[in-house]
């Protein structure tokens, strides 16, 4: 008895059932039908990657700007979130799936994100530095963040622009200089949602200088549950990866890699941890401060 795969009749029948007359590829006709694509491709002649605009790196944002690590995390989160929202529906092959993710994320009332931020080493005697940051968003667009001993409250609901930060070890507000820096960075980034483009926010990516694609992954139990998107700068190795659940369409993880500047971040999203209003109320700290 022959094994089924060795039976010629099955090969013949498969070829008959599926086989097709080869359609001849006609590149000339394709060129005529897609002049914009042709223009897009040919416009690159003579343009070296080094000639293109270099983005402001995240490292520069983190290391050279006078902002806290928590605010740096905000940069990353908002970059990812705005990335998610701004790209909605605009991706070539994967627009439907991406649009679904963007739309679904927009509808989430609250979430918590844990960020593992790493950078360096920038010198031989330095080590890779790590920092863990947690941020919660309420149903009313309030934020609370924990970064080391700093706790920050931000409220942008209904046009509010309130940012206050405390040192959790002393229960005291941060000093004025520090507070101003934190507030400025939060104002700059969190209010940006919907007002600024990713160009101004996300490392200065020019709008036509980044690409996003859905990534096909090996068929594993995990890949059957999730879909992976990649946001990549075209002239640098900077890359965002965003994993979303196929079923709920919610992003569950995002990963930033800027190997050139040695900055990395891993973001884990959680949608089940609803905090009550008091959690987002900085007056709890203020009252403790008064009681002292």
């Amino acid at each position: 008895m022959k094994r089924p795969e060795n039976n010629n009749w099955l090969d013949d029948a498969l070829a008959k059932a599926i086989g097709s007359e080869k359609s001849k590829p006609d590149f000339e006709k394709w060129k005529q039908d897609h002049p914009q694509a042709v223009e897009m491709l040919t416009s690159r002649v003579g343009r070296s990657p080094s000639a293109t605009k270099r983005p402001l790196s995240i490292r520069r944002i983190i290391m050279k700007s006078p902002i806290t690590k928590l605010a740096a995390a905000a940069v990353i989160i908002i970059a990812v979130l705005i990335g998610i929202n701004q790209f909605g529906g605009s991706i070539g092959g994967a627009s439907v799936a991406w649009a679904d993710v963007a739309e679904r994320f927009e509808s989430v009332p609250f979430f918590n994100v844990t960020i593992y931020l790493g950078w360096g080493p920038y010198a031989q005697d330095q080590k890779l530095e790590f920092h863990k940051i947690e941020i919660w968003k309420s149903e009313n667009s309030q934020l609370r963040g924990h970064s080391g001993e700093e706790i920050i409250f931000a409220d942008f609901a209904d046009g509010n622009n309130v940012v206050v930060a405390f040192d959790s070890s002393t229960m005291q507000p941060l000093n004025a200089d520090r507070m101003t820096k934190v507030a400025n960075s939060f104002h700059g980034f969190l209010r940006a949602k919907g007002e600024f483009s990713l160009d101004t926010l996300l490392m200065g990516f020019p709008s036509d200088d980044k690409g996003i694609t859905s990534v096909e992954t090996a068929d594993t139990p995990a890949s059957r549950e999730t879909v992976l998107f990649e946001v990549k700068h075209k002239t640098t190795p900077t890359q965002f990866l965003i994993w979303a659940l196929r079923k709920s369409k919610l992003p569950v993880r995002a990963s930033l890699s800027d190997p050139k500047n040695k900055v990395y971040a891993d973001l884990l999203f959680n949608y089940s941890e609803k905090k009550d209003a008091a959690f987002f109320d900085p007056n709890i700290f203020k009252s403790q401060e008064t009681n002292k």
């Binding site: 089924p4 029948a13 498969l14 590149f27 694509a37 491709l41 690409g211």
Partner: protein
């Protein structure tokens, strides 16, 4: 296929040379149609998907770092576009397939039963079978497009054919010896 020359073609296309992109178009148009067909089950729409894939490739080509993975990268684009088309045109396609299946049922023909068996396969198996038999594509090219080894192509193909044979046996189209088609 000379991968070095393909990498050079990709590099030239990334630099904006249309002729090189044209060569890649000529090389991969039919494989992409086959790949899209495995998703869409409609040859005309599959051709549209293939053409659209090259539009996206034009736009995103500069993102591609591993030039030797061009085929797999392009296949990924095509797969996404085909799935997107399936969502937007899915009802029409589903109706066509359904009507076709009904007619096929009446004719009770082995070839038609094979088509049904193929479309019952898991996506990865179906892609493989269609790539292989749509255009008698060599294993090496299938391996490139699916980004797997030639050995994996062979192994998966065997398993997919076994599944098809079992389906045919279950439905009385072939005997226990897997050798003799009963109905034609």
């Amino acid at each position: 296929m000379d991968l070095n020359s393909e990498a050079k073609l990709v590099e030239a296309a990334q630099d904006g040379h249309l002729e090189s992109f044209g060569a890649l178009y000529e090389r991969y148009y039919n494989p992409l149609v086959a790949l899209a067909y495995s998703v869409l089950a409609d040859r005309h729409i599959a051709e549209d998907a293939a053409q659209e894939s090259f539009v996206v490739a034009c736009r995103d080509l500069s993102n591609l770092k591993s030039k030797d993975k061009f085929a797999a990268w392009l296949a990924g684009i095509c797969r996404n576009i085909a799935k997107q088309m399936l969502r937007t045109k899915g009802k029409v396609i589903a109706q066509n397939v359904s009507a076709s299946a009904e007619n096929e049922g009446k004719k009770d023909c082995l070839v038609d039963a094979i088509r049904r068996a193929v479309w019952k396969l898991p996506t990865s198996n179906r892609e493989l079978i269609v790539l292989r038999y749509y255009d008698n594509m060599p294993y090496e090219q299938i391996a490139q497009i699916l980004d797997i080894s030639v050995q994996a192509v062979n192994g998966r193909l065997i398993r997919a054919k076994r599944k098809i044979a079992k389906y045919l046996k279950r439905n009385g189209f072939i005997g226990d010896d897997y050798e003799t088609p009963r109905k034609q």
